[in-house]
Symmetry: C2
Subunit: 660 residues, 2 copies
C-alpha cells in the first residue's frame, strides 16, 4: 500500500493547490490574445476594460422619417392656426438615421406634416415641397437621437473579466472597436492510463474497460473554456507514464492523469508526480472521488533553476467516471476560471426535502446526485445511485446534494442543499413517478419530453409507490398489485396505503408476466413448480413489488413453499435487473415481463396476464403539469409505440379504474 | 407610405409563420447527421433515442483490490474464529475492475484479509499466498459491480431531442456507441442592407451608421445552435436586394434581411418578399421591434410547381439594434429550436417590484430591459433606457420585463414579470447604487467584479438617490448636496429626505467642479458671470442633482438670475451627458467635473472643490453584500486608479462622515 494516500479536507486541498500556483506565479490570467470582433468571440473573456473610442450615435440623428426643424420656429402652431415653414432655411427632409442640419434641433415626423403644394398629407415620395405646414409645435430634441444617446466616447462599455454575449459584440463595435483582447484558452492535456483500458468502439471481452473518461473530461474542459488534448491510452507502466506526462507538459498548461490515483499496486500517479515535480495532495475527504492527486511537474526536469517558468500543475483524477467528472468540477473549473480571468461557475442552490435517508462518512464532503421536482408545495430531492461507477446517475441528475463533512447522514424528510444543474423552470415541469417499473414509462418519458414535461421515475415497487404518494413524494405511481382474495388490481391496496387521499386511477397497459430463462432454456423451466428444483437458481423482486405479490399469490395457491426456492431472498429492483442477473449467469430464472427478457436476449415462459395502472392523487390529476400525460393515453402514436413492445396490450389504456 | 405595415398581435404573427412552415413541411427537424463521439458533440441535439448496445459493466467486476470468494464459503468467519480459504479454488486475487471468476460472487477487500504465509496483513505486492485468513463473513455481491449496474443493454440512455452535455457523452460511449446522430445546424443567411451603413472599423462621418447588427445576429444564431453567414452590406436598391436574397436562399434555411422592414421610402423588404415569395406578416404589435416582416421566398423563382421544396422562410428584421436582437429572440429562436429538435429556450421568470412607472401603448406587448437586484426583502426591477437604438441597455440588462398588451402601463411599486438573463445567484450579488453620477462608480464596479459583486448604478441625481433610499429601492446612494446655509455636505439633506432611517455615510472622493467648454474655449468663458451673456448657450443638470444645487447656490450668492441664462432649463442627467451636449455643439458650456470634460476632449474651467459621499442605510452597511465595497475604500490599487482621474482627490476616501 502506498504511504501517500491520506485524505485532507476539501478546502485545505484547494488552498494547497492555490498557494502552490501563487508561488509559481500561475494563479492569474495565463495570457491574452487579440481576436477579431466576430461571432466566434462569444463566450470569450475580456482581459481589459473596454472604453468607448467613439460615441453612438456620433452625430445628432433623426429618429424618424420627417422634417428637421428649429423647435423655436414651431412655437404657436396649433390645429386651428397652422404654421408654414419654408424648405431649406426652416425645414429639411431627413430619413431615419440622417444627421440633423447644424441649425436644427428637432424632427417633425412626416405623418404630422402637410404639403402646401398638394394641400394633403405628404408621402415620402414627395420630399421636396417648397414649404410645409404644421399644426402642432415640437419640443427641442423631439424625435432626435442625440449624439452619445447610446454610448459616450471614453465611457466604460464592458469591464475586464466579462464573458462576451452576442449583444456585447454590438456594443463593442458601436463604441469603435474592431477587435478585442481576450484571455487565451488554457491548454489541458488529458492522459488516460490503465492496462485494462480499451478505446471506445472496441469489441469487449471480460476485464476490458471502455476508456471514455478522457472524452468526458475533454468535453468538460471545452465547456469550461479550455482547449483539451486527448492522448492515447498509456499502459500501467511507471516509465511510460513519466515519459507521456513530460511530453504533454511541454505544450500544455495543465496535465490531467486519469487514473492510477489511488494506492493500489498499479497506481503509479502519485509516484510519477513525485518523481517529476512535487506532490502537494494525495487524497481529499470528498465522495465520490477521494483519491485525488494535486501536484506540480517540471516541464524540463533537468533545468531546475528557473522555477516558476518550468512548473505546471498536474491533477491525478480518480478512475471511476463519476469521481472523475466531479474532480474536474471541483478542482479544474476554478483553475480554468482563474486562468481565463472570469469568475468560477456557481450553480444556483435550492433547499429541498430529501426523499430517502442518506448515510455518509462523517469526515467527508459527500456529493449525492439527485433528481429534483416540485410535488405540491414541496421541492423534493430524490437520491440517485451513489455508485462512483454509475455515470447514468450524473446524466439523470438535476443537481448535486451535499452531505457536508461533520454530518453522518441526513434523514428522509429533512432539508438538504442542492446545487442545481437545471433551471427552476425546467424543474417545475418535472413529473415525479414512483412505484413499480415498467418499460412503458421510458416511452412515456420520451413522448412527454415533446410536450415540455420531464418524467422522472424511481423504482421502489408498487407498494413503495403508494406509500410515497401518501407521503406526498410523487405525482403518480405505477402499480400492479393483485388482491389475492378478489383477483382485482390495486384498489384495495390504495385504500389500505392511502386512506383519505382522493385518487384517480387509469389503466396504462395489460402485460404478460412469466419466467425469464436463459436462451434455449437449458434447465427446461416450464412453470413455478420448477423453482423448487434444487439445481434451479431463482432471482426475486424486492418485497412490495407487484411481481413479488403475484409470485407469492401463485406459490400459495400451488402450495409451493418459498423456503424450497433457491434464491428466493436474492432481490432485484427492476425487471431489467432480474433479466441482467439471468443473462450474467447469477441466476437461472426470475419472474418478470416479456419485454425485459427480450431486451437481454433471454427466453420467456409466459404464465399470467396482469394489468398495470397509474395511480394519481386527485390534486395532481387536475393540475396542468399532468395534462399532456392524459393526452398521450389517447394518442395513437404513443399507443402504437407501446403495442410494439413484446407482451403488451394497449386496449385498456386510459380506462378509468377508480375516480374519487 | 407602404400599404403593408399593420401591426398584428404577437401570438397571431407567430402562428401565421408556424402554419405557413407546417404547410411547406418545414416545421420539423431539418435533417440529421452522424458525428463522431468527441468533445465537439456537446450542445448538439439528438435526433433519435439512444438505446444501450452493451451493458456497463459488461461483466461482474470487482469494485476493490482484494480477493474474489464465494460468499457461502465465508459464513462463520468471526474475529475470534478466523476462517482459512485456499487460493485458487476458494479465493482469487482481483484488482479493481477485474472480472470475478465464474464461481465467485463477492469480494473481500485486501485490507480485511490476512496472509497465512506471513501471518500479517497482506500487501498488494504479495498477491499469491497459498491461502488467506478472514475474520468476517461477506454478503453475496459485496464489493462487486454487477453486470449492468450502470447500464443494461437495450435500455434507454438518452431520449431524442436531448442537448448533449459532457457526462452524456460518457454514458453514450459506455453503452457501446462510437458515433451519434444529431440534427444538422440550420444555415442562416444574414443580409445587412442600407445605403447609410458602413462596416465595423470605418472612419465615421456624419450620417454613417456602423453596421454591427449582422454581427449581433450572427452571434445570436450561433449561440442558438445555428450556422450563420454574414453577407456584405447591400445598398437600398430593390433589384440588388432581390438578387442578394435569391443568392442567399440557395444554400441557406433562413434569410434574415436587416433592415428596410418599416414603411419608409427606402424600406424595400416587404416588397422584396412579396416579389420573391409570400408576405405573411408585416408589423407585429410588439415594442421595440414592431416593423417585423415574416414571409417565404422561393429559392428558384422560375420553378413554381414543386412548392414545398423551394420555399424557405425570410424574416425582415428591424434596423434598430435592440429591435433587431429582440426580433431574433422572439421569432428565430423558436424556429431554430424546432429545426434542431430541441425545446425553445425558456428564460426563468421572476416577479419583481418596478422602481419607475412605465407607460406603454395599450395594444402592444412591450419588452422593457431592466436591471434586477434584491434590496432587503424586495426583488426590484429598474427599467433601463427604452430607446430601440440603445444597445447598451441590452448589454446591461439582467432581464426583460413585459408590459403586456391590454395594459397602458405599470406604476412604480407594482409587480412586474421579468424574464431573467442572469441566474438568481448572480442577482443576489447585485449592489444597487442610485443617486448622483460619478466616474469613480465605473471604477468601483470594475474592482467589485473581482470580488464577486456587481455594482449597478442608476443616475437620478443626489436628491433622487436619497428619496430612493427612503423607499428601499437601493443599497446605497452617491450624493454631493451642498447645504447653502452651512457649507456642509449631505447631512441636512439626509435628515430631511430620510428621517428615521439610520445611516452610515462615507466620503468617497473630493473632486473639482467647473465649467466644461469647447476645446480652446472659443467663447472665453471664465466664470459663472459669463453664463448670462446672450450668445452663451448653457446646458444644465436636472433638478435634484448636486451639481445643480451647487450651481444655484453660487448663482444666488453672485445674484445671477437663472432667467438670464440661455439653456438653464435644458437638462442632462449625467456629467458625460453635459459633456456630450457641448462636444456636439448643442451647448457652449455646462457645470460638471474635470474628468467628464477630459473624456470628451473639452476644456475645463475649474471653479469649486466639493465632496462626494456614499450614503448607506445601516441595515445594508452591515450586510455581507457590501463588505467588499468597504474593503476597496482602503485598497491601494483602487485608490491609485481613482487618483489617476483628473481632478480627483482620494485623501478623504473612507472617512466616516456620519454614523447613526
Amino acid at each position: 500500500m502506498s504511504v501517500y494516500l491520506h485524505d485532507i479536507p476539501l478546502p485545505q486541498a484547494q488552498a494547497r493547490l492555490r498557494e502552490a500556483l501563487q508561488d509559481a506565479d500561475l494563479w492569474r490570467v495565463l495570457g491574452e490574445e487579440t481576436i477579431p470582433l466576430d461571432e466566434n468571440a462569444i463566450g470569450r473573456v475580456t482581459t481589459e476594460p473596454i472604453w468607448a473610442k467613439v460615441s453612438s450615435p456620433h452625430y445628432h440623428a433623426s429618429a424618424m422619417d420627417g422634417f428637421a426643424v428649429r423647435a423655436l420656429s414651431t412655437v404657436g402652431a396649433m390645429p386651428s392656426t397652422p404654421l408654414t415653414l419654408s424648405m431649406g432655411s426652416e425645414a429639411q427632409y431627413v430619413d431615419t438615421g440622417d444627421p440633423l442640419p447644424d441649425w436644427a434641433n428637432a424632427v417633425i415626423p412626416i405623418e404630422n406634416v402637410e404639403s402646401l403644394d398638394e394641400t394633403k398629407q405628404i408621402t415620402s415620395a414627395i420630399r421636396q415641397p417648397t414649404s410645409i405646414r404644421i399644426r402642432a409645435s415640437v419640443a427641442p430634441w423631439s424625435h432626435v437621437r442625440p449624439l452619445g444617446e447610446d454610448i459616450v466616447a471614453t465611457q466604460l462599455v464592458l469591464p475586464a473579466g466579462h464573458i462576451l454575449k452576442p449583444v456585447d459584440l454590438g456594443a463593442i463595435a458601436a463604441s469603435g472597436h474592431q477587435e478585442i483582447k481576450v484571455s487565451r484558452k488554457p491548454k489541458v492535456a488529458i492522459l488516460p492510463t490503465g492496462t485494462e483500458l480499451v478505446p471506445i468502439g472496441s469489441q469487449l471481452k471480460a476485464g476490458d474497460i471502455l476508456e471514455y473518461n478522457s472524452l468526458v473530461l475533454a468535453a468538460q474542459v471545452k465547456a469550461m473554456g479550455g482547449e483539451p488534448t486527448r492522448y492515447p491510452i498509456t499502459k500501467d507502466d511507471f516509465d511510460l507514464i513519466c515519459e507521456r506526462v513530460l511530453e504533454a507538459a511541454q505544450d500544455h498548461d495543465l496535465v490531467l492523469l486519469n487514473a492510477g490515483s489511488s494506492a493500489g499496486a498499479e497506481d503509479f500517479s502519485a509516484k510519477v508526480v513525485e518523481k517529476l515535480g512535487q506532490l502537494l495532495v494525495h487524497g481529499v475527504a470528498v465522495r465520490p472521488g477521494h483519491p485525488v492527486i494535486l501536484g506540480l511537474v517540471n516541464r524540463q526536469s533537468k533545468i531546475k533553476n528557473r522555477r516558476s517558468d518550468n512548473l505546471i500543475p498536474i491533477i491525478g483524477v480518480p478512475g471511476y467516471p463519476v469521481s472523475a467528472a466531479l474532480t474536474i468540477d471541483i478542482f479544474v473549473e476554478p483553475l480554468i476560471a482563474q486562468w481565463l480571468g472570469r469568475r468560477p461557475l456557481e450553480l444556483p442552490t435550492e433547499t429541498a426535502i430529501l426523499t430517502r435517508k442518506l448515510v455518509s462518512p462523517a469526515g467527508d464532503d459527500d456529493f449525492v446526485r439527485v433528481v429534483v421536482g416540485r410535488v405540491g408545495e414541496k421541492l423534493l430531492a430524490a437520491p440517485l445511485s451513489r455508485g462512483a461507477g454509475v455515470i447514468t446517475s450524473l446524466v439523470q441528475a438535476d443537481g448535486l446534494a451535499l452531505v457536508p463533512s461533520g454530518t453522518q447522514g441526513i434523514e428522509a424528510g429533512e432539508k438538504i442543499q442542492v446545487r442545481l444543474y437545471r433551471s427552476k423552470a425546467e424543474i417545475e415541469k418535472t413529473i415525479f413517478c414512483i412505484g413499480s417499473h415498467d418499460l412503458t414509462l421510458d416511452l412515456l418519458a420520451q413522448f412527454l419530453s415533446v410536450h415540455n414535461r420531464r418524467l422522472v421515475s424511481a423504482n421502489v415497487g408498487s407498494q413503495g409507490g403508494l406509500v410515497a404518494l401518501r407521503r406526498g413524494e410523487a405525482h403518480l405511481a405505477g402499480s400492479h398489485l393483485l388482491n389475492p382474495q378478489t383477483g382485482e388490481y390495486n384498489i384495495s391496496y390504495i385504500r389500505q396505503y392511502m386512506p383519505n387521499i382522493p385518487v384517480k386511477v387509469f389503466a396504462l397497459v395489460g402485460r404478460e408476466q412469466g419466467l425469464m430463462v436463459k436462451k434455449g432454456n437449458p434447465k427446461r423451466i416450464k412453470s413455478l413448480r420448477d423453482l423448487s428444483r434444487h439445481q434451479v437458481q431463482f432471482v426475486n423482486r424486492q418485497r412490495g413489488a407487484g411481481t413479488r405479490v403475484l409470485l407469492d399469490y401463485h406459490l400459495n395457491s400451488m402450495t409451493i413453499s418459498p423456503e424450497s426456492i433457491v434464491g428466493y431472498n436474492q432481490e432485484e429492483y427492476t425487471h431489467l435487473g432480474v433479466a441482467a442477473a439471468i443473462a450474467s449467469g447469477r441466476a437461472d430464472c426470475g419472474l418478470g415481463i416479456a419485454a425485459a427478457a427480450q431486451a437481454l436476449d433471454l427466453d420467456f415462459v409466459p404464465l399470467f396476464q396482469e394489468r398495470y395502472d397509474l395511480v394519481i392523487p386527485k390534486q395532481y390529476a387536475e393540475a396542468d403539469l399532468l395534462t399532456p400525460l392524459f393526452g398521450l393515453l389517447a394518442d395513437s402514436a404513443f399507443r402504437k409505440a407501446v403495442s410494439q413492445l413484446t407482451g403488451y396490450d394497449v386496449s385498456v389504456m386510459g380506462t378509468i379504474i377508480l375516480e374519487d
